[in-house]
Amino acid sequence: MALSTERESVARTLFVAAAVALVCSVMVTAAVFYLRPIQAVYANVERNRAVIMAAGGTSILASDSEVVEAFFQLEASVFDLATGVALVSTNAHTYNYWQGLPDTEPAYLSVFLKIDKGKLSRVILPIHGKGMWSTIYGFLALQSDLNTIASLVIFKHGETPGIGDKILNPEWLSSWEGRQVADEDGVIRITVSKDSTPMLEQYQIDTITGATVTSEAIGRIVRRMLGPGAYTEIIGALHKDWSRYFEIDIKTG
């Protein structure tokens, strides 16, 4: 009985609570302190893996070192979205273009180029925007005409498992390939929609049955990212003379 009253005394209760809290917090802080940097490295590798896949270079099963090697073979430049000017002094390969999302829209984005024997083969653009629930991140690759879609890769999303995550379906993603972004007048036409209009087939991707909202959201994201305020200026500039913006990389690489 004496033992149990002693155990219940206020001072002792406070002491035990404080001791447990202290030990637990040290354990948790140590784990986070040691693991966060490793997580950041792995997260970078995974993001670059998605870039490589959009570039059509490799499969999802490539090893981490293969990913890193292929990634640094791409040309890269950071662009100011407002002006379409390249920031030559920033290292675009390591620049964290999605920093601050989903709260603040980025002002600068990296653009990656795949060069084949001195010729432009693909342009890879990071894209992001709101899905049904979450912010969806991905990469859109355009062919050298800067109007034909070469591939679409979804990097990260938080949509409903089993419903919204149908946007990861390889068949649906490959249905984007070969579609046109804009018509001859430069009007952006690409859409994801339920019904197909025969004349505009080359601009249309079908919605996913059972994931209508999320798949239409992807369509909106692509339209918004290619539109004014995002990549329009940059695509125009690259269209005129892409090598100008990537000069430095080509000389050193």
């Binding site: 155990r7 219940e8 002792r12 209760t13 035990v16 609570a17 447990v20 809290a21 637990c24 917090s25 354990m27 948790v28 784990a31 986070v32 693991l35 966060r36 490793i38 997580q39 792995y42 997260a43 995974e46 990260k156 938080g158 498992p161 089993g162």
Partner: protein, 213 residues
């Protein structure tokens, strides 16, 4: 002697999921395929063993008035460490498991074993009890996920075993297995099987007539 009894009882006879009805949420929700199920099972075993042993060591020190909150804090800290480890070394699985790693905190097996066992037994016995219950949980979640992945996608651990129709094979995947209701059916049938083998386990209160006599 007791050690092995504490270890083996929860595997089938006192199985936490099928008999004690504890820890169902994650057993149902992350059992769509085997890889995340295995990682989930390992996480639960790790947290369960850690919390049971620590709480057993502290059992004579913990004041009764703040017993529950201290247990929850110990469990939650272990879960944070496990969550960070999964985020580091199994990124894709961590996205699939999403909120369910965090929900190990409220997995009733863990608090249930701490309250029912660790507070009254020594650390070695608590270790055996935790390991046994963890393995019992792993047993159920792995069986259910094996059935769901094999029937739903024709594969185990992402390795294709039944050649799929779309790849020129003969197996048409059962889409139902990819959705939540299939987990209920499978665990229901599993309970049926286990209880038919050990008919004495049938819940006494619902057992009105001794019809097997």
């Amino acid at each position: 002697m007791n050690f092995f009894k504490y270890l083996s009882d929860p595997l089938i006879n006192e199985n936490p999921v099928m008999v004690q009805i504890l820890g169902l949420c994650s057993a149902l929700a992350v059992s769509r395929s085997m890889e995340p199920a295995l990682i989930m099972a390992m996480s639960v075993i790790a947290v369960l063993v850690f919390s049971n042993v620590v709480i057993s060591l502290l059992r004579s020190v913990i004041p009764r008035s703040i017993r529950l909150i201290l247990e929850v804090i110990i469990i939650a800290s272990a879960v944070i460490v496990v969550d960070e480890l999964i985020k580091t070394f199994a990124v894709e699985v961590s996205e699939y498991l999403s909120v369910f790693v965090g929900l190990i905190i409220t997995n009733c097996i863990i608090l249930g074993r701490a309250e029912a066992f660790a507070l009254g037994h020594g650390p070695l016995d608590s270790f055996a009890d935790a390991l046994g219950n963890g393995l019992g949980y792993a047993f159920v979640i792995l069986i259910v996920s094996a059935a769901r992945e094999l029937l739903g996608a024709g594969s185990l651990f992402n390795v294709n075993l039944l050649p799929l129709l779309e790849d020129g094979g003969w197996y048409r995947p059962n889409q139902l297995m990819l959705y939540a209701p299939s987990a209920f059916f499978l665990i229901g049938f599993l309970i049926w099987g286990v209880r038919s083998m050990h008919i004495f386990q049938v819940n006494k209160s619902t057992h009105r007539l001794p019809r097997h006599l």
